[in-house]
């Protein structure tokens, strides 16, 4: 065994430690979760595949008539995007809880708010963002009228980010429960409905030719509120979950 290099300990009671660097911790968290997401890309693809399958089934199950589909398209795409996000939420903090990393996160001298924000950001990058990017393709399959594409992408961009953030609260509350999946859905669903309502009405409004500035503004406001409050609430919920 090689001798340990001299481990210099800070001696003296008043020796200050360099204060923690926020940006570095945020980057470390982001990098770790993105690497993990890449290594588990099979699991990550699950919500996306679910999204694709449901949308391709709709013309088969409902009606292949373009007029019928065009009316349904905004609602169906939005509902399925919401369900796909919900499906992937349970795993947000689960593996960290099971292998003890969550405890390490709680006692790191970094604000838990930022660490949760980093985790949610990664969650959105691997679920909400891909969903948003494939949505126009699915719009074609559901014969979405031309005026609806841009609003669909922008409303999903704002909306899925809000969904990930809001969902994190539920995931944090239920992380310590053995079978928290159903409870998670029950907690989160009511909070999701405003996002769904304004998201679909933006796309529908654009198709009908009415101005959609108001709906987009509400979606943006929901996202802004979620960015500020949801990591706080999630951090509190995590502390409670771990405490038990």
């Amino acid at each position: 065994m090689n001798a340990p290099a001299s481990v210099q300990q800070v001696s003296g009671a008043s020796a200050p430690l360099p204060s923690p660097h926020l940006g570095r911790a945020f980057a470390a968290m982001l990098q770790r979760d993105l690497t993990l997401a890449y290594l588990h890309r099979g699991e990550i693809a699950n919500p996306l595949v679910f999204f694709l399958i449901v949308i391709t089934m709709v013309p088969l199950g409902v009606s292949p008539e373009p007029e019928v589909l065009a009316g349904l398209a905004p609602g169906i795409i939005w509902v399925v995007a919401l369900l796909a996000t919900l499906l992937s939420l349970d795993s947000l903090f689960r593996s960290d809880f099971e292998d003890g990393s969550l405890e390490q996160l709680l006692i790191s001298p970094q604000p838990l708010y930022l660490m949760v924000l980093a985790k949610v950001l990664v969650h959105w990058m691997v679920t909400g963002l891909p969903l948003t990017l494939v949505a126009p393709l699915l719009g074609i399959m559901l014969s979405l009228p031309g005026a609806g594409y841009l609003p669909l992408v922008f409303s999903l961009l704002l909306g899925t980010a809000a969904l990930s953030l809001i969902g994190a609260i539920g995931a944090a509350l239920t992380v310590a429960l053995r079978k928290g999946g159903l409870l998670l859905s029950l907690i989160i669903m009511p909070l999701y409905s405003p996002v769904l309502i304004f998201g679909t009405s933006a796309v529908r409004g654009a198709i009908e030719g009415s101005p959609i500035g108001a709906q987009m503004a509400v979606l943006g406001a929901l996202l802004a509120v979620a960015i500020v409050l949801s990591p706080l609430a999630s951090a509190g919920a995590l502390r409670i979950s771990i405490n038990g």
């Binding site: 065994m1 090689n2 340990p4 290099a5 001299s6 481990v7 210099q8 300990q9 800070v10 001696s11 003296g12 009671a13 430690l17 360099p18 204060s19 923690p20 660097h21 570095r24 911790a25 980057a27 470390a28 968290m29 990098q31 770790r32 690497t35 993990l36 290594l39 588990h40 593996s95 292998d99 003890g100 990393s101 405890e103 390490q104 996160l105 709680l106 006692i107 790191s108 001298p109 970094q110 660490m115 771990i242 405490n243």
Partner: protein, 222 residues
């Protein structure tokens, strides 16, 4: 320099309507190595979780450098490293990636390059393999490598010797001695006797209430 780093006063913890320990007093000075012992289920891990501020389920007071812990928690966490009984290692990642995350999260500078820390725990050549290919002992060693990287003064270790071979145990004991000699402090739980000179042994069983006290405590609590 005779003030304790960490001071516990009349700590009392109850879990599932059972008193695990009560009237627990302890003072941790720089250079101390404290071994917490006792049978399984007597609350060792619970005590450590309270000391790391993960769990808030206790009565009594904890002081860090003379001030209540609730008031200077951040400063305390800056000086703390906690290895739980779970390795806290992501199995899909390599030891290097795991350590990089830990050192990014904790404050302060690295004492050593990551590779050297891994070499110190005998994982030379395993830096970039995924952790799921490592044995249980090697996984534990990945977690232990953090001790070579941290500038933290207070080390709280829950069963650090689990799955570690004889040589590894000797190395870890040496590391603990060096840490204590440098003015740090260690609190650890383990069931195996330590070959260290200055270990203070605390049996947590001594702080368990007797049968009749248990009833009285339950009445007070109820």
């Amino acid at each position: 320099m005779n003030s304790p780093d960490l001071e516990l006063k009349q700590l009392c913890c109850e879990r599932d309507e059972r008193v695990l320990f009560r009237h627990f007093d302890m003072r941790l000075f720089p250079g101390d190595i404290v071994q917490i012992g006792g049978p399984n289920g007597c609350g060792k891990t619970t005590l450590l979780r309270i000391l790391t501020t993960v769990s808030q389920d206790y009565r009594g007071e904890i002081f860090w450098r003379g001030a209540p812990l609730s008031r200077n928690r951040l400063d305390y966490l800056n000086h703390l490293i906690y290895l739980s009984h779970l390795p806290s290692v992501k199995k899909a990642l390599s030891p290097r990636d795991n350590l990089r995350w830990f050192s990014g999260m904790s404050s302060g500078h690295r004492q050593l390059p990551l590779e050297e820390a891994l070499a110190c725990v005998g994982l030379f050549g395993y830096e970039d393999v995924p952790c799921y290919t490592l044995s249980a002992g090697q996984l534990r060693r990945v977690a232990l490598a953090r001790l070579y990287l941290t500038p933290a003064r207070i080390w709280i270790l829950d069963e650090p010797f689990t799955a570690i071979d004889k040589q590894g145990v000797a190395r870890l004991e040496q590391l603990l001695t060096e840490h204590a000699a440098g003015g740090g402090a260690v609190i650890l739980t383990t069931h195996q006797p330590l070959a260290l000179a200055r270990v203070r042994y605390i049996n947590l069983e001594d702080f368990q209430p007797e049968g009749w006290e248990l009833d009285a405590e339950a009445e007070v609590a109820g």
